[in-house]
């Protein structure tokens, strides 16, 4: 990239100092001077015109020599680009998605909603409908077929619902993050208490605890004593923590225990609970995670995760593509990629089981089977090893019959 920058600087500088305009000016001035001289003294015109020929030609030559230099710099910059961008950007060979514009549109639309870009999302919606209408008109005029599905792949109910849900989410989030107002989030958690509890989520308590802490630390101008803020927190706890008592007793006892230490909290054992600079961010991200989970959506935008994973995997796949092109095979036509495309650990969402015998990943058609000795191999391996009769586990001395093997889900 440094080489690119260096060459580009040269091109840009030469543009800034370009003499073309100056040469053109010079030509105009020369012509004008000659014209004025001739107008003044018409008898001088032969001499004046004769003397004008060479300078004008030289000025044009000057322009061309400048252009030649620029051309050279352009070529050098092109070479610097070629050096970094050796491979062409992958195009149709690697593209399995061209036939699904609607699905891509939908993914983008939902991504925009998810990111809280409601204006952009609604522009997209109206532009897509508009475009489809005009395409339909054109097609009718030319007597062509045109798809009639919703251009963003949405049905009416899910569309309205998604938009509403996400704008609700952003309202709650902006109250939480921008105004440190937890109430809308707490209200939401209470409304969805049953679903959250089924997930084993502690969101409501986390929110209330943070509310307690923020009351505790909120010293106001009108306060008479240092204890006013902790007392407000205590009041809150008395009214709101009742329902948590059974389950979060220790946590609540800890919070209450801090009240006597309110004047020098930082030296008390309660400091970590109260002095937590990232608490708001953490609560916000648990809220997003729980909110999306109840909508059966992943917490981070799938489009973002997939595009980023793609940028990471693409160089490997491209190398492969070049090799396969020579062999005239295409990876997009196979069930499984032929090479590993390592991703960072945060991109792992499922367990992976590779049969230790066949080295193949198990699937619904060839599922993992657990032998009575608790070793797991793929069904096809099991069939191959046992041939239907009693056989020895390849990993321990225990023998078993294939019908004793049990389908497991990894």
């Amino acid at each position: 990239m440094e080489a690119i920058q260096k060459e580009h600087d040269k091109v840009w500088n030469s543009c800034k100092q370009s003499k073309t305009t100056r040469h053109v000016d010079d030509i105009i001035v020369a012509l004008q001077k000659a014209r004025d001289a001739i107008a003044e003294d018409p008898t001088s015109r032969q001499v004046t015109l004769a003397k004008l020929q060479n300078p004008v030609k030289t000025m044009f030559d000057g322009i061309f020599s400048g252009l030649r230099d620029t051309h050279g710099l352009h070529n050098k910059y092109t070479r610097a680009l070629d050096k970094v961008f050796k491979d062409k950007v992958p195009s149709n060979e690697i593209d399995t998605l061209s036939s699904h514009p609607t699905l891509i549109n939908r993914a983008i639309y939902l991504h925009l909603l998810r990111e809280g870009l409601f204006d952009v999302a609604s522009t997209f919606h109206s532009e897509a409908v508009e475009k489809q209408q005009s395409q339909q008109e054109t097609a009718t005029n030319l007597d062509l077929d045109v798809p009639m599905e919703h251009p963003l792949g949405l049905d009416k109910s899910s569309e309205a619902n998604m938009q509403e849900q996400f704008s609700n989410m952003y309202h709650i989030l902006s109250e939480l993050k921008d105004n440190h107002n937890l109430q809308p989030a707490i209200d939401w958690a209470r409304k969805n208490a049953a679903a959250l509890e089924a997930r084993g989520s502690n969101l409501e308590f986390e929110l209330c605890r943070l509310h307690f802490v923020s009351l505790f630390l909120d010293r106001r101008d009108e306060d008479q004593s240092d204890f006013d803020a902790p007392m407000r927190a205590l009041q809150y706890a008395q009214s709101e923590f009742q329902s948590f008592r059974g389950r979060y007793l220790v946590e609540i006892q800890q919070l209450m225990g801090a009240i006597p230490f309110s004047s020098n909290l930082s030296e008390s054992p309660y400091n970590t609970r109260f002095n937590h600079s990232t608490a708001w961010e953490e609560v916000a991200s648990s809220f997003i995670r729980e909110f999306c989970s109840l909508l059966e959506l992943s917490a981070d935008s799938p489009l973002y995760v997939a595009a980023t994973a793609g940028a990471i995997a693409l160089p490997t796949l491209l190398k492969l593509q070049t090799i396969q092109k020579q062999k005239r095979t295409e990876w997009t036509s196979q069930n499984e990629l032929p090479v590993e495309t390592p991703l960072p650990p945060s991109y792992r969402f499922h367990s992976i089981f590779v049969c230790p015998v066949s080295k193949e990943q198990t699937t619904d058609q060839n599922p993992p089977m657990m032998l009575p000795c608790c070793h797991v191999i793929a069904q096809e391996s099991l069939q191959r090893l046992s041939k239907g009769a009693k056989f020895k586990c390849p990993y321990c001395p225990i023998e078993s019959h294939p019908r004793e093997a049990k389908r497991v889900f990894i």
């Binding site: 990239m1 580009h8 840009w12 370009s18 073309t20 305009t21 000659a34 001739i38 107008a39 015109r45 032969q46 015109l49 004008v56 044009f60 061309f64 252009l67 961008f85 195009s91 149709n92 699904h100 699905l103 891509i104 939902l110 870009l117 522009t123 997209f124 054109t138 030319l142 509890e197 084993g200 059974g246 999306c292 059966e296 992943s298 799938p302 489009l303 997939a306 595009a307 980023t308 994973a309 940028a311 995997a313 160089p315 990629l337 090479v339 390592p342 960072p344 650990p345 969402f349 367990s351 992976i352 089981f353 590779v354 230790p356 990943q361 699937t363 619904d364 797991v376 990993y395 889900f409």
Partner: protein
């Protein structure tokens, strides 16, 4: 752990592959600008120098009066001033392009300063990249209002090429509507640059030839005697010169004159077909993108195809994975992990036909155990879920979490199916 270190390694040189057009396009535009400048200068020189010479000769031979000399000098001055305005405009355009390139180079440079894929700065950078990829996709699909609104909101206007794509889309749509005017004008404007796309024995691009052929087809379609005469003349001028390089097409064109527009006979039916406009529109886009070093397909397609595959596992469309949005009647589940992006509704259908990632070693949660229903999890995850459920008062002992020995007594909840078991039913399993 060693594997994890390599998996978060950021190799910027291979990573910027997708960002190529970011620098290629403005450079192509600069080169086009340069060729235009060069052409103008040549034209002016070839005009001014001879006429200056003629004027001088005329003055010497006294075949012109002084007034006539002044008049021709005035004409030259005026001409040069018009020329200067054109040059100034091109120069200003060039400066803007360089400024864009400089900003883009700086943006790419930022990637080179990020230590690893796990760095938060990478996350920011990658989000901007997604915004760029989306804008590129939207522009190519003709959603220019959405694209500019997104670019403005995310303040990435310097990283996108609105004008180029808007122009391209305008011309492509005009072809879709059955108009050739804009496309032919574009060809004329880019005559110099298009030369590099022409390979022998052809004398013009496929696009230009096909457009000329279409104009001819339209004259024939009109069917009247004068139109057919006009068609003949048009063919003489624009098609016959290509008789040796494109003999088949020229033969067909000649045969077309004897056909009715509703003919069922091939290839004439195909030539009269309205779907030819769609073909022309696609051909235009392809030619336009190739000329400007733009990939023909949206970059988002390339990134997503690769990403969907790299993330996809056999579980993502498995009938036994209740988290997958493709599982019929997929249940709201008590899972305490985050949902896989491929299983998520947004991408599940899109990922259906891409291959899944290749793995050579198993990866399961540590200390795997199997439940009576055959589901395998890491022991810790089950204990964690039991702890949380106990805290929220569901499952586990009545007295809440503190009387309970997590992982030994009480209820085990299956995080996927929601079924309950006891810890005695949980068995250790060996994954090699």
């Amino acid at each position: 752990m060693a594997a994890d270190l390599t998996s978060i390694k950021l190799n910027p040189d291979s990573h910027v592959l997708l960002d190529q057009p970011l620098l290629r396009l403005p450079h192509e535009l600069v080169k086009r600008n340069f060729r235009n400048t060069q052409r103008y200068v040549e034209r002016e020189r070839d005009q001014i120098l001879p006429s200056l010479k003629d004027t001088a000769n005329a003055a010497l031979s006294s075949s012109q009066t002084p007034e006539e000399t002044l008049a021709s000098l005035d004409a030259m001055i005026q001409r040069m001033q018009t020329f200067k305005r054109k040059i100034d405009k091109l120069h200003a355009e060039e400066e803007t392009l360089h400024e864009h390139s400089a900003k883009r180079i700086r943006h790419l440079q930022e990637l080179y300063e990020i230590p690893s894929l796990a760095d938060v700065k990478y996350d920011d950078w990658a989000r901007t990249r997604l915004d760029r990829l989306m804008v590129d996709y939207l522009l190519r699909s003709g959603y220019s209002k959405t694209a500019s609104s997104l670019a403005e909101t995310k303040q990435i206007s310097h990283l996108i090429d609105l004008d180029t794509f808007v122009t391209c889309h305008r011309i492509a749509s005009s072809l879709n509507r059955g108009e050739t005017k804009d496309a032919l004008a574009w060809i004329a404007e880019n005559k110099n640059s298009l030369k590099k796309l022409i390979t022998a024995p052809y004398k013009c691009t496929n696009l230009e030839f096909e457009l000329r052929l279409q104009q001819y087809i339209e004259l024939v379609r009109a069917g009247t005697i004068p139109k057919k005469l006009e068609a003949r003349m048009y063919a003489q001028q624009h098609l016959t010169p290509h008789a040796s390089s494109r003999p088949d097409a020229i033969m067909q064109a000649a045969g077309l004159l004897a056909q009715e527009p509703n003919t069922e006979a091939e290839p004439y039916r195909g030539l009269f077909a309205p779907s030819r406009w769609r073909h022309l529109s696609n051909l235009f886009i392809e030619t336009h993108h190739t000329l400007l070093s733009l990939p023909v397909q949206p970059l988002l397609h390339a990134a997503l195809s690769a990403g969907l595959s790299a993330l996809k596992t056999p579980a993502c469309h498995s009938a036994y994975n209740p988290a997958s949005s493709s599982t019929p009647g997929h249940a709201r589940i008590a899972t305490n992990t985050s949902l896989c992006p491929i299983c998520s509704m947004e991408l599940n259908d899109l990922a259906r036909n891409v291959p899944y990632a290749h793995h050579t070693t198993s990866f399961v949660e540590s200390d795997p155990v199997v439940l009576p229903n055959g589901r395998i999890y890491g022991r810790e995850r089950l204990e964690e879920l039991q702890r949380k459920l106990a805290m929220s008062g569901l499952g586990g002992g009545e007295g809440g979490i503190h009387d309970l020995q997590i992982g030994k007594e009480g209820e085990v909840r299956d995080p996927t199916t929601g079924e309950s078991f006891t810890w005695e039913q949980v068995k250790k399993v060996y994954i090699m």
